[in-house]
């Protein structure tokens, strides 16, 4: 089943359940239980976006839920604010807190968010109990008036529908986010930060977005809880509840559509049964969490899906087409460009030091547009460091880099990617757990015009763009001969195919400058011939290529210009034929022939 069919199936089954349940005249207790369960589902759906897609863990989700609840309650009690504005205020405040918590932490390491959210949860508890004038202390806030919306008093019977509609909205929002460029970018950052940066994704921003979305859903759920319970108290929003939310998501299956809904249902039911266990209940939850991690880390839905796949999937031989394919419209894929005669890229006395070691020393480069410029040199000569400087992964110690006349030294890599500098990695960096097609689709992230709102609402422009980029991604796969592998996981590809995919992904950026870091390493002789053809084809369309490569035969035939580095310094630069005869180059590669040949470079940096 395609994700879209799954989504619709779950959605309609869920709506049917909600309607039928209401029609069989349940008891007040049953209806209350289902309403609480639906509210918790809204929280876990948000948490699932965070854990299952952005790869981040929040251990303070109950506090965000509580924040939404208390803001709504406080406004309703002290400010006489009605249902809708109170709940919306709760969502806004939670979103702001979410942003303030996430932004400082996720830039460095995703792990930090877990710690900060636990801390937030504890501080929140602390404040609820101590700041009596606002929160009512351990008594909590009582006497919350029943809500009213559009002139209708929200009795318990009507409120059932309000909660149900909010849950349906949350469920749709989840689908619309995770199957969009935002969801793809979240999964990409969770799998490879370097590759995400090289595709123009702002990691701190996308992670903050994921957390803010999950916080907003928690805030919404909190507001709904307030007007259901008509009484809030700190006991509902403890660390234990945060763990329960986590357990619900993991039990159901992180990253799946149905997982959070299922996990929440099961655990709500179990909690009703196990109510009298007290201290042992916490113990049991801890054990349950550990056991699930060992026995089925994918959760119920994930494990079932994996099992059905194992039994129903028919392995088939996939056809690898020859590459580069000439049947794709490369000019539209690579974007219109005008060939200018100025330098595409210039490096002026570019230098980087690692501690006391100068890995790149006063390097001068002048790369003409639409040419292939090779960087060669022995291991440790500083070639990859130069590439990392140009693509913004390193910041130069001194010196300047200009790209199309604009100074770019020290600009972060994701901004350079948006300017049109694309790269591949020496040890291919694919998003291994994403499909081959999705790997290419991620690279279009920064070209979309649709913003978050348009994406969530699936406005016509979003649909149009999604279709267009899907088309382009398929064409790029055709270009590198991998059409038949589109739905395969990238990590399952053989090495040579991974290289091809990485190049297709880099081309999706419509690069003006393409940096290839040892693209021939590990390829067969025939594949190297194809690679040479591809590089020449790209330059015909005006793409400038900087090539770091050890394969000398390839460098000499494909390059217009060769710069030779040794110990971080340029020792020769010129057309391939002249460089080949340069005595210094020969010495750097083969030594002087005497006994005291230069020792191998020991810079410690990757070549």
């Amino acid at each position: 089943m395609t994700p879209r069919r799954q989504f619709l199936a779950i959605l309609f089954a869920g709506i049917a359940f909600i309607v039928v349940f209401r029609m069989i005249e349940p008891s007040n207790y049953q209806i209350g239980l289902l309403m609480r369960c639906m509210i918790l589902m809204i929280v876990t759906i948000g948490l699932n976006i965070l854990i299952g897609h952005a790869g981040l863990v929040s251990l303070g989700q109950a506090a965000l839920y509580g924040l939404g609840a208390y803001v709504a309650a406080w406004l309703a009690v002290k400010g006489d604010v009605s249902f809708m504005p109170a709940v919306i205020a709760g969502i806004v405040v939670t979103a702001l807190f979410g942003a303030a918590l996430a932004y400082p932490t996720v830039r460095v390491k995703g792990v930090y968010l877990a710690v900060i959210t636990i801390a937030f949860g504890l501080v929140f508890q602390n404040i609820l109990v101590e700041w009596i004038s606002v929160t009512g202390g351990s008594q909590g806030l009582t006497g919350i008036p029943r809500g009213e919306a559009f002139g209708v008093r929200l009795t318990r019977r009507i409120y059932y529908w309000v909660v149900a509609v909010c849950l349906v909205i949350a469920f749709i929002l989840q689908y619309n986010i995770i199957y969009s460029r935002y969801g793809r970018a979240m999964r990409a950052t969770a799998q490879s930060e370097n590759a995400s940066r090289a595709l123009g994704i702002n990691i701190g921003w996308i992670r903050t977005l994921a957390f803010v979305l999950s916080a907003m859903l928690a805030g919404l759920a909190g507001g709904l809880y307030t007007f259901l319970n008509l009484f809030v108290n700190y006991e509902t929003f403890t660390f234990f509840h945060s763990i329960t939310f986590l357990l619900m998501v993991i039990l159901g299956g992180t990253g799946t559509l149905f997982g959070p809904v299922l996990g929440t249902s099961i655990l709500t039911y179990i909690a009703e049964v196990l109510q009298d266990l007290k201290e042992w209940q916490i113990f049991a939850y801890g054990m349950l969490l550990a056991i699930i991690m060992f026995v089925m880390p994918k959760g119920i839905v994930g494990s079932v899906a994996a099992l059905t796949q194992r039994f129903t999937a028919k392995p088939r031989a996939r056809a690898t087409e020859s590459w580069p394919s000439r049947d794709v419209p490369l000019d539209t894929l690579l974007g219109a460009r005008t060939k200018s005669t100025d330098s595409a890229l210039k490096a002026d006395k570019l230098t980087i030091q690692f501690g006391g070691l100068t890995a790149v020393d006063q390097v001068m480069l002048d790369v003409k547009p639409g040419t292939v410029h090779a960087l060669i040199g022995p291991n440790g000569a500083g070639k990859s460091s130069v590439l990392n400087l140009i693509s913004g992964f390193y910041s130069p110690t001194s010196g300047a880099v200009t790209f199309q006349g604009e100074s770019i030294a020290g600009t972060p890599s994701h901004l350079l990617a948006r300017k049109g500098i694309a790269r591949t990695f020496q040890n291919t960096e694919l998003f291994g757990q994403m499909s081959v097609l999705d790997n290419v689709l991620v690279a279009f992230h920064c070209q979309y015009q649709s913003q978050l709102i348009g994406t969530v609402l699936r406005l016509p422009r979003f649909t149009r763009e999604e279709k267009m980029y899907l088309d382009r991604a398929r064409q790029l796969l055709a270009f590198v001969g991998l059409s038949d592998y589109a739905d395969e996981l990238a990590s399952n590809l053989p090495f040579g195919h991974q290289r091809r995919l990485e190049i297709a992904r880099a081309l999706a950026l419509q690069p003006k400058l393409l940096l290839l870091d040892e693209p021939a390493a590990g390829l067969t002789h025939a594949e190297i011939e194809d690679l040479k053809t591809l590089i020449r084809m790209l330059t015909e369309y005006g793409v400038t290529v900087i090539l770091v490569e050890h394969h000398v035969e390839m460098v000499m035939t494909v390059s217009d210009h060769v710069t030779v580095l040794d110990y971080g310094k340029v020792i020769a630069s010129g057309p391939a034929s002249t460089v080949q005869k340069n005595p210094q180059v020969i010495e750097a590669y083969f030594g002087t022939g005497g006994i005291l040949a230069k020792p191998a470079a020991t810079t410690g940096q990757p070549a």
Partner: protein
Amino acid sequence: MGEILQYLLSGLSLGGIYALVALGFYIMWAVSNAANFTHGDIYMLGAILAVVFVAMGMPLVVATLAAMAVCAIVGALIERILVRPFNKEPNAIGWMLTTIAAGIVIESGATVTYGPLGRPLDSPLAHTPIRAGGAGIYPQELILPLVAIALMIGLELFYKRTILGRAMRAVAFNRVAAGLMGIDVNKIALIAYALAAAIGALAGILIAPVIQAVPTMGALIGLKAFGVAIVAGISNARGVVIVGICYGVIEKFIEGYISTGARNAVGFTLMILVLLAFPQGIFGRKEIAKV
């Protein structure tokens, strides 16, 4: 004047705890790029085991060593069972969930078996307080920052001078290369977790005579200590100890001049602000993304 001295002295003592527990996080982080969220509970376990062992008739010193040894074994088991299998891919989060789960189990398990109430650990150094300039403090409390500093120096020497210490640094720097040099990376990680747990347990045992050992004493300390380690940059022992001791002192001053209730809220807010200003931590260096 007496007030300020009092805050300073008890702050140093509290800071000593943070420093010791945070040192453990640093040791574990260095070898595995992961942490053990049960570490606060190990701190608690050390204190409780010491109380139990003394009650069984062991002398204090023997009980201390025995409790540390048990905790070291628990730390090693956590590494082997809960961290290593769940930390295989970069950016893995499994280890976080498994160790949190184990932390819950340890804490609630201790509450059920040992009981929710605190029990004292008798120490000759916690009988009569030293009084000076209007402030009073037990000698036991002053031991904590001293032990933290001594351990920091010891740890630095250990890392620089011994084969095992050098191996640990090598693993921290580059796991794969260390493995290629014949270092048993897994064994090093196991030892590091055991060492961290022993230090954490020691911190718990040292403070137990002053505050009583209770199952809930660990969670918050562990969390704050991890915060301390992050703010320090998790990159060297000295930074972790300095930030830990400072954080303790700051907390006591907040407690004194604002209120006990404000302590955690203000403290954590401070941490977040520092991280905003220094994303890599105060003593942290920017990790160069090798690509």
